[in-house]
């Protein structure tokens, strides 16, 4: 194997300042992406911990902020019009919502994940969903909750703490009522 011998002359080429500067810049960049990664990896959605804050503009143009909803139990449901299991639980969610609709201390919020507005609105009309729903623009909320897919539901108590996480669809109205009632206590 023919290899050129690195002579001392070759190494004189780069000034130590330049080399140091370049590696320092690289190190800084690596630290930066490491910190970004740490932040992205931190799993904020843990039962018993404060739930991540969110802001959602609904399809009707109303803005919901989690801090303004303090004092209410929030049922945060992630769904998509293309997701068949979501369609299965849609009726249960709506029926459960009808039980609490007159109470001031419970709110259901639907978040449409990776969906087009057209299809999402059609889905809502088809399943006669009456609680507020909006698109998760740039998937900010679903990232904050680190969802793995749809449907997923997060129940947040009056103090903003996460009390229940449901991965996959609810299979009955009773199941939803149980977890909401538990959060109300």
């Amino acid at each position: 194997m023919q290899t050129e011998q690195p002579s001392t002359k070759q190494r004189q080429g780069v000034s130590p300042w330049m080399m140091g500067g370049a590696f320092l810049l690289l190190a800084g960049f690596l630290v930066f992406i490491w910190l970004g990664l740490q932040r992205a990896q931190a799993g904020p959605a843990v039962v018993g911990q404060p739930a991540p804050d969110f802001e959602l503009t609904t399809f009707d143009g109303q803005t919901l902020r989690s801090e303004e909803l303090r004092g209410k139990v929030i049922v945060l449901n992630f769904w998509a019009s293309w997701c068949d299991p979501c369609a299965e639980e849609a009726a249960f969610l709506e029926q459960a919502w009808q039980r609490y609709v007159r109470r001031e201390d419970v709110i259901f919020v639907g978040v449409a994940y990776v969906d087009s507005e057209t299809e999402a609105k059609r889905y809502l009309a088809q399943h006669q969903v009456s609680y507020p729903n909006g698109p998760d623009l740039r998937t900010v909320i679903s990232q904050a909750y680190r969802i793995r897919g749809v449907p997923e539901t997060y129940v947040i108590d009056k103090n903003g703490r996460l009390t229940y996480i449901k991965i996959g669809p609810f299979v009955s109205v009773q199941e939803i009522v149980q977890v909401v009632d538990a959060a109300l206590q």
């Binding site: 194997m1 023919q2 290899t3 050129e4 690195p6 002359k9 070759q10 190494r11 004189q12 080429g13 780069v14 080399m19 370049a22 590696f23 690289l26 690596l30 930066f32 992406i33 490491w34 910190l35 970004g36 990664l37 932040r39 992205a40 990896q41 998509a80 019009s81 293309w82 997701c83 068949d84 299991p85 369609a87 990776v114 969906d115 087009s116 507005e117 057209t118 299809e119 609105k121 059609r122 009309a125 740039r138 998937t139 900010v140 679903s142 990232q143 680190r146 969802i147 793995r148 897919g149 749809v150």
Partner: protein
């Protein structure tokens, strides 16, 4: 059985790759041809092994084996066959496997070339390529989130257990009746081609990168690695370009906002390596012809490949928020280590060979083809800096302030726009400059005709009613580049016609055949000019309107009158219910034809699809959507209409671009004298 076979084949491929790396190092250490041959065989073997694994996953997807978590998450019973196949890249795990398969394909292809002249590079090319491959395959094998063969299990009392690859005692298979299905945004024919093209572009950059690193390690700092990889780089760059354009077409057809580019962070992350790759394609010519910028070229190829990996990291680690991004995964730390090792090694090697990479020649004049190329590189790198900042700033601001700020289209448009104008100016000048030394007088003599034509065109447009300064500047620069390119090509053909007596057509053909790189490059420039017409059309002249119409009523946009005539709803034999509106299109009182926006409802999949009615000409597109969340009845329906001037030139330009790239890539035939 199939999941075990797929996983097993992949595990063997991983071990073979690791073996290939070790035997390559042995070959260097012992100076042994036997070890080297063995390493080469290992590199060739990876592709068939990963192909077997991929085939297993495809069969599982097509069969709809919902016990497999990946199949459950990306397909459903009602999906047609072609969508089940595209589900291969519809999720994190499958697309990583697909990525590894493509990379192994390129590695095997590189292993098949004739290595006689470049034996000293071979072991290091193998080490770099197989290390990258082993990294990607390793992630699929050892990360819980990215193994596509993981299955669902339950215990004897029917409680679901955590998904796992292998079955242990007391575990029973848990087979869901149906899967979650694929997002409808991905259910489009464009998705068949867009991701594979982009991945091909990304992955194939590994070959020039591996050669560059091998050249640095062995100290073979001549132009050889560039000559060998020139075609590889062009192929990689062409796939990346096609991937980007197909993504634009997909956005135009599916996302329904009448545009094609949204400056989504993932789009920008894919554009970044294209920018540095394009700079590289230009700047290698300086090294080949004049021995200049050796350091810069190695740096550029390293940066390009680094950006490919960094973009993949951002998309797949959950750091980004975007419609393109995959959900959270545990890949981040592994990716981070890979990026760190790659960056430190590349930078270290460049510094190690710093002196040997000194330019052989010098810039001999302030104004020459070399300096114009240098400026071109500077502008490409400036655009890259803007785009790099654009995707990283949100992360930075989140770290510092806790608030995630997103950089939207206004940021990019205001910063990239002027740089693009400068780039077009350079594109117009470059073909008219000479290598070594050029003079302003020479430039003036050749540029005045194309420049005058471009100026006349701008005046004509102004008199025709175009008043936006940005649009006039854009058209003027595009025209300058177009006229210069045609003028240069025409002038050379005219010379051949005069001196060799060839017919005009033959002269044009001969020129392209004899200097494929130059005239392929000119065709690419022409393609870019045509594409820029589409960009200017949408950026400056797009208009839209929306309204609820009763039959007989009209909407007006950009001089067009669209009249809602009738609506029909009917079933078609392939299981669709079609709601189809008939909309008459008139301009200045003249009837031009009808468009038929539809909403197709797929009974089996319970999926509606909105299909625009499109009247597409080279002048403009009228793009009509039946707004389907409002009731659609014979008495009234809501329509959204976009008027997109010149947008078709974008796709025509892309075709010219493709032809130009193929001309440049096509191997020169043996008996043709190579000229610059």
């Amino acid at each position: 059985m199939l999941p075990e076979v797929g996983y097993g084949a992949l595990l063997v491929a991983f071990l073979v790759a690791v073996y290939g790396i070790l035997s390559s190092l042995m070959a260097v250490w012992r100076n042994s041809a036997t070890w080297l041959r063995s390493a080469l065989s290992a590199m060739r073997l990876t592709w068939p092994l990963i192909t077997a694994s991929l085939a297993c996953l495809l069969i599982l997807l097509v069969q709809g084996d919902f016990q497999v978590s990946y199949v459950y998450n990306t397909t459903s019973r009602s999906m047609p066959l072609y969508l089940k196949l595209t589900a291969l890249w519809g999720g994190q795990a499958g697309s990583l496997l697909f990525w590894g398969w493509l990379m192994a394909g390129f590695a095997s292809l590189a292993a098949l070339r004739n290595w006689e002249r470049d034996r000293e590079l071979l072991p290091w090319v193998i080490v770099v390529t197989l290390t990258t491959l082993a990294f990607f395959v390793g992630m699929v094998l050892f990360s819980a989130d990215s193994n596509p063969f993981v299955r669902f299990w339950q215990n004897r009392s029917g409680q679901p257990l955590a998904p796992a690859m292998f079955r242990s005692a007391d575990m029973l298979p848990l087979v869901p009746w149906d899967g979650r299905g694929l997002s409808p945004l991905l259910r489009h024919p464009g998705m068949i081609m867009h991701p594979p093209m982009l991945y091909l572009g990304f992955v194939s950059f590994v070959i020039p990168y591996a050669f560059a690193m091998a050249a640095l390690i062995t100290g073979r700092n001549d132009v050889r690695w560039i000559r060998i990889t020139r075609r590889w780089t062009l192929v990689a760059w062409l796939f990346l370009s096609l991937g980007l354009v197909l993504g634009m077409r997909w956005a135009y057809d599916v996302l329904g906002w009448g545009g094609y580019w949204g400056w989504d962070p993932v789009e920008v992350a894919a554009l970044n390596p294209w920018l540095s790759g394009t700079a590289f394609l230009h700047s290698v010519m300086l090294q080949e012809k004049r021995g200049l910028f050796k350091r810069w070229n190695v740096f550029l190829i390293a940066i390009t490949y680094g950006l490919v990996i960094y973009g993949t990291f951002l998309t797949r680690s959950g750091v980004f928020s975007s419609v393109h991004a995959f959900a959270q995964s545990d890949l981040g730390p592994a990716f981070f280590v890979f990026i760190a090792v790659m960056a430190i090694a590349s930078l270290g090697l460049i510094f190690y060979r710093w002196e040997a990479l000194r330019s052989e020649g010098q810039l001999t004049a302030l104004f020459s083809r070399e300096t114009v190329f240098l400026l071109n590189n500077f502008v490409f790198m400036s655009i890259l800096a803007v785009c790099f900042w654009g995707i990283n700033y949100p992360l930075l601001s989140e770290l510092v302030t806790g608030q995630k700020v997103t950089m939207g289209p206004p940021f990019y448009e205001s910063t990239v726009g002027p740089l693009l104008a400068l780039l077009f100016l350079l594109m117009g000048i470059a073909p008219l400059t000479a290598w070594g030394r050029s003079t302003w007088k020479m430039l003036r003599r050749s540029v005045w005709r194309p420049a005058l034509l471009a100026f006349l065109l701008v005046v004509a447009l102004f008199l025709g009613g175009v008043r936006q300064p940005g649009a006039l500047l854009g058209f003027g620069l595009a025209a300058l580049v177009g006229f210069v390119t045609v003028y240069e090509y025409g002038r050379a053909a005219w010379m051949r016609h005069r001196t060799q007596g060839e017919s005009a057509l033959l002269a044009l053909w001969q020129l392209a055949v004899r200097n494929r790189r130059r005239y392929g490059g000119y065709l690419i420039h022409l393609g870019v000019v045509l594409m820029s017409l589409g960009v200017i059309g949408i950026e400056f002249f797009q208009s839209e309107t929306q309204g609820l119409l009763r039959p007989g009523e009209s909407l007006e946009v950009a001089g067009y009158r669209l009249t809602y005539r009738s609506l029909a709803q009917f079933d078609v034999p392939d299981g669709r219910n079609v709601t189809r509106a008939v909309v008459g299109v008139e301009k200045n009182g003249r009837f031009l034809g009808e468009v038929y926006p539809r909403r197709d409802y797929y009974y089996e999949a319970q999926q509606p699809m909105t299909i625009p009615g499109l009247r597409s000409t080279m002048e403009d597109d009228v793009y009509v959507i039946l707004v389907s969340w409002q009731p659609i009845t014979e008495d009234g329906a809501t329509f959204k209409v976009y008027h997109n001037p010149l947008v078709n030139w974008l796709w025509v330009g892309a075709l010219v671009f493709l032809v130009g790239s193929l001309v440049a890539i096509w191997p020169e035939s043996g008996n043709v004298v190579k000229s610059a």
